[in-house]
Symmetry: C2
Subunit: 356 residues, 2 copies
């Protein structure tokens, strides 16, 4: 039997210490104008009883308005970041009983100046806390977080993490380990087949995020260790050139007609799947693995053209990230810092139960 024991209130502490609630309040909040004697009396009681305030009553009484902000990469409707952002909104919605506002600033992942510009706007907005979907460039990130720290604005990181930053919380996946995980799966599926295609869909001529690089690194390391005889064949595709992409794929699958397994480290595996479905319907089955259960990938999986997806619950990440910073700022609750989310395998068999 668990009983949340009758909670000690400020009033009780005041009584025990023989002072008024005002004094206890001042001590608890470290406000000035407390005599040494009174402070000692209160402190003694506090030391004994381990006071935990009623966070909800506290927030109710303080009646403050909290302005949260996020700075995230621009994104398409059906994407990791779209889901993560939805999660953030869901978090806001969960706390309609409090006075919150939430503003999202979006930057172009391929344009560092755009990040700095949005960062400036964000700082001008003067939020009480910030959620960051980090930009690739470490120096620019540090510059920004430094500014936040100088202004005493707490921040949380979403998706990728740097050890030298000091966020309130981090929510994201261990990218390298998730690359190893993908390797294990695709090698298992491939069994004795020793050739694997690695599709790289490049946004502006380069990989957008550190996450993708780390996944690939983990993947290559794992394959090298566990199946050194397996050959990895790369195919680079440039998203801004639709026709060129199609040609490249034709050429690739014709030249590498023995390819039966392939993967990609971002959420675009549906591009390959749909290409095969629409343009090479007679090609022998190619087993595909990709990242993120976005709608396009899910559809492609239901059609039978994508076989494995590695999921990371972006919406949960967003929701929990918001929740953590809310708990920290509004309810003054201490938060666990690092939250590496699970590395989840999605297949047609469990797709229905993968919910964001």
């Amino acid at each position: 039997m668990v009983f949340n024991q009758p909670k000690i209130r400020i009033k009780d502490i005041a009584e025990m210490a023989g002072v008024s609630v005002g004094t206890v309040d001042r001590v608890i909040h470290g406000r000035s104008n407390v005599s040494k004697l009174a402070l000692e009396k209160v402190q003694k009681v506090l030391d004994e009883i381990h006071y935990v305030p009623n966070h909800y009553a506290s927030a109710l009484a303080s009646n403050k308005v909290y302005n949260f902000a996020a700075i995230l990469p621009m994104h398409k409707e059906d994407s990791y970041w779209a889901r993560a952002e939805e999660g953030l909104y869901e978090g806001v919605k969960r706390y309609t009983d409090f006075k919150l506002s939430f503003k999202v600033f979006r930057y172009d992942q391929f344009n560092e100046e755009s990040f700095e510009q949005q960062a400036r706007s964000l700082l001008a907005y003067d939020p009480c806390a910030v959620i960051i979907g980090p930009i690739f460039n470490h120096r620019i990130m540090t510059k920004f977080t430094q500014k936040l720290e100088n202004k005493n604005i707490p921040y949380s990181l979403l998706d990728s993490y740097w050890a030298d930053l000091n966020p309130v919380t981090f929510y994201g996946q261990d990218a390298r380990r998730s690359g190893e995980f993908s390797a294990k799966i695709i090698l298992m599926a491939a069994a004795n087949h020793k050739k694997i295609a690695l599709f790289k869909l490049l946004g502006e001529g380069r990989v957008a995020s550190r996450q993708q690089l780390d996944r690939e690194e983990g993947f290559r390391k794992y394959v090298k260790t566990h199946s050194p005889e397996t050959e990895i064949v790369d195919l680079n595709l440039y998203a801004y050139d639709k026709d060129g992409m199609k040609d490249s794929m034709f050429k690739f699958f014709t030249e590498n007609s023995d390819i039966r397994y392939g993967l990609s480290f971002n959420s675009s595996i549906h591009v390959i799947g749909n290409f095969l479905k629409d343009n090479m319907p007679d090609h022998p089955k190619i087993t595909l693995l990709g990242y993120d259960a976005i709608d396009a990938n899910i559809k492609c999986m239901r059609d039978g053209y994508v076989d494995f997806l590695v999921g990371q619950h972006p919406q949960h990440q967003g929701l929990n990230c918001f929740r953590s910073i809310f708990n920290s700022c509004v309810l003054h609750m201490k938060q666990e810092k690092l939250h590496y989310v699970g590395i989840e395998l999605i297949m047609p068999e469990n797709l229905d139960f993968y919910k964001d």
Copy 2:
């Protein structure tokens, strides 16, 4: 930009309707002593504005004590139910700002009379809401939930679900689908090997839960459909007879020396793994799949004797189950009813990120 728009309070409604807050309060709570005219005026305003109360202020003001109860199977320290129960406690702990108590009643899964006895104690405790870890016997379950419904006590189900019951919420896994999932994984791992061992660890001479039966059913169906030539070899083990178990395993692995793949549908796969590790160290590798990332299984996986685990986040299930019934009872928030948790694959590569 999202702004939680300035919330409309009871006071505002009163003003708009031209009545006092008391009257609004009576209308909102459906209390009596409201004239038709006043009711209409308030109702009109309510219809226009879609009032959502401040749940936290409401709970604070009502200052009620809530007694929750759970009825769960007895369990060992390191088990699915132990984790689920921890999750429930965590839920209680999260709401120390409210006046809650929580009492757990434990019954013997193999003794229906024991369930009925605990159910009686529970009813005598007169809780405001109940969490049920269902007993196998459908008739007994229905009898119990019927009693709860008669007393207007809401209940939630944990782990297994019956469509003809009407719980506030359900948290658990779709057992049949999870069996199919296991089949897919083990068939993929087995590649061209066409023999799979099915280990059944029986507590009191029979399988304890419907979940296990359903998993097996899903598994067999999937194998039959996707790999009809695969042979499934059963091994029954009786937990109460340790020596007999060991003998059975020796005999089994000697007679079926070509077995390379095996699985079990409860959390006891570590028994097989540890047997192989301790007693047949020279036996060729046997790939094992089991359920639940309990400590014994995790250890066995780290030792390299269990390869796959199907997880279901029991602690999350417990926590969320408690949270849902708390939200429903205390904060009067509407709850989504069915929560099928994900079917998760755990391997050494993502084990570190599988957290409860």
